[in-house]
Amino acid sequence: MKRILKSREATLALFIVALTALVSLRAPSFATATNLNDILNDTAVLMLAATAQFLILLTGGIDLSIPSTMALTGMLVSMLNMAVPELPIPLVVLTAMAIGLALGGANGLLVGYLKIPPIIATLGTIAIYRALVFLVSGGEWVSAHEMSELYVSIPKRNLLGVSGILWYTAVVTIAVGLFLSFSGRGRAVFALGGNRTASRLAGIKTERVDFMVFAMSGVISGLAGLLYVTRYAAAQNDTAIGYELQAVAACVIGGVSVVGGSGSMAGVVLGALFLGLLYNALTMVNLSPFYQTAIQGIAILVAIVANTVVDRRNRQKMLARRELA
């Protein structure tokens, strides 16, 4: 199983290299360090949203409320920044994560303890959180000139030549990857998606795992919301609209199964990177940005079909082996 996953990520990585090479043939400025760095910075927020979505997809659920959580957190933190402009960065980051935790925790309560299917619970909260953005802001934006310099510098701060936004993303994705691979609770997340009943019978407290992944998803979305509003220096009422499906797209392209139980953090990061490169490449080769959505759709469908075909072949191989034995 591990070998299959590994090869899947290798295939995707190969695709990414091929895409980069192909585009740079037509636009030499594509593969330069500056542009690639820009693409990474542009994709960081999507990577975080995809990580948040990944945790839920692994358990067999889906989190539609991610963009609303991002928007509400971004708005609340920006309003806090207007009130207290010189609040130290660690406190701002912690506040964003705490707000995300509360919002994600509410989803977790609905799903884990009230047993509402994730798609319905988050269908409700995507509307509610978005409405709350409007209510707390009164429909107004927080724009660049109302944000303190310290606040706007959060994603840009350079450490060892790498921007802050990439540091946050790296820390989150590595932490989640390690958590999923090496902790008992992380393995429980996979177990739940693989077979819920079997996990419960094996002694896993499924309610707790459901609550935990939504709480984690909320924390990561909160952080993503903070980075989104500070990077674009504007907290709007429709921040991040549509991110829930882009995040699913990144996961699916990265080989995550939407019925749960399989996928890898590395795949998700590569999937998000692939989408980021694709968006940037379109403008580079002078294709209208209006083609972006259609090409993204094709990429998702190709990834899904390829995953299924590979899976099916593997299953048949396994069956054949069993018959031999």
Partner: protein, 344 residues
């Protein structure tokens, strides 16, 4: 806990299977929904003198009939245990093809045909991908949602089709001749009646329920599951074509963002109507009343100047409450039983 009546109830409950209990909950949910609907109508007429006015009540249906039309086949899909998030994008694609045909000089019957055919084709592609590759419907329709919407964006860019024949406007703006009943409303009622008959009175409908309750059992009972799902997804595409005709005719233009978010509205009204998201349970009455409930609730809130975003707070909350209440009842039942067991 020592109340003999409770004991009697809970011991009787044990004999009832889980399935019939959910079915009973759905039935009682339809009753609750009817009460909420009456409350909304009463509240609306209390809040504003313009609410309970025949012309207003009829005309305001223009605002939610397209969603209601899409909710009908969405009910089939959710009953099967599937989901289709591409419906808004199919409407956009269908509207796009009508816009292109109209620009090329097509007449009204041709426009209708093209709109329906495009919708059907979009639904068929969904159904084919889902059944041929055995991929979960959510994954496929997230892909086609992006693809169909993307085609509309690629063709239109920042432009819009706004030239439609004058008589085309009747479908979305006209009334049944000699009455004040909007054509959209009449069409929806006919489609809802047909949907209800198909679901509750034909073997096709029984197969949908069978599939939703237990796909494996359905298959072993001789239901061609793949074919059934293909038909249901194609059927949904066709209804999206109908919705696209109504919507395009009503607003008289095709923009790339037409019908964005329609999928969430349609799913919300189906689930609010008491259809279990896991499939197999629900009925036409709940879905129809949920559509009118949501529509008139928004109309009432609009009359007293509630902003659109805040309306979403109410509908989102209503959706969660609709799901939480039956679950709470079930859980308090269970808790009672557990506590009793612990006491022994």
């Amino acid at each position: 806990m020592k109340d003999p009546e409770i004991k009697a109830v809970s011991s009787r409950r044990i004999e009832i299977t889980r399935a019939t209990r959910i079915a009973a909950a759905a039935k009682s949910w339809e009753a609750i929904l009817t009460l909420i609907f009456i409350a909304v109508m009463a509240g609306g007429s209390f809040i504003s003198p313009y609410f309970l006015d025949t012309t207003n009540l009829l005309d305001t249906t223009f605002n939610f009939m397209e969603k209601a039309v899409v909710a009908l086949p969405m009910m089939f899909i959710i009953l099967c245990g599937d989901i289709d998030v591409s419906v808004g994008s199919i409407v956009a694609l269908s509207s796009l093809s009508m816009g292109m045909a109209s620009a090329a000089g097509a007449d009204v019957p041709a426009l209708i045909l093209i709109g329906l055919a495009t919708g059907l084709a979009g639904g068929m592609l969904n159904g084919w991908l889902i059944t041929k590759f055995e991929v979960p419907s959510i994954a496929v329709t997230i892909g086609t949602m992006s693809l169909y919407r993307g085609i509309a964006q690629a063709v239109l860019g920042d432009q819009a089709f706004t030239k439609y024949p004058l008589s085309f406007a009747w479908f979305g703006q006209g009334y049944i001749p000699g009455t004040r009943i909007p054509f959209e409303l009449a069409l929806f009622l006919i489609l809802a009646l047909a949907t209800g008959l198909i679901l509750h009175k034909t073997t096709f409908g029984r197969k949908i329920f069978a599939l939703g309750r237990n796909p494996v059992a359905a298959r072993f009972s001789g239901v061609d599951v793949a074919r059934l799902r293909f038909i249901v997804f194609s059927w949904t595409g066709l209804f999206c074509g109908v919705a696209a005709i109504l919507l395009t005719s009503r607003i008289g233009s095709t923009r790339p963002n037409i019908a964005t978010g329609l999928e969430l509205d349609a799913i919300t009204s189906v689930v609010l109507g008491g259809v279990a998201i896991t499939g197999g349970f629900g009925g036409i009455y709940g879905v129809v009343i949920a559509n009118f409930l949501l529509g008139y609730l928004k109309f009432g809130m609009g009359l007293v100047n509630v902003p659109g975003r805040v309306m979403n707070l109410v509908t989102g909350g209503l959706l969660l409450v609709a799901i939480v209440i039956p679950e709470m009842i079930r859980r308090s039942d269970n808790a009672r039983r557990l506590r009793k067991r612990a006491a022994v």
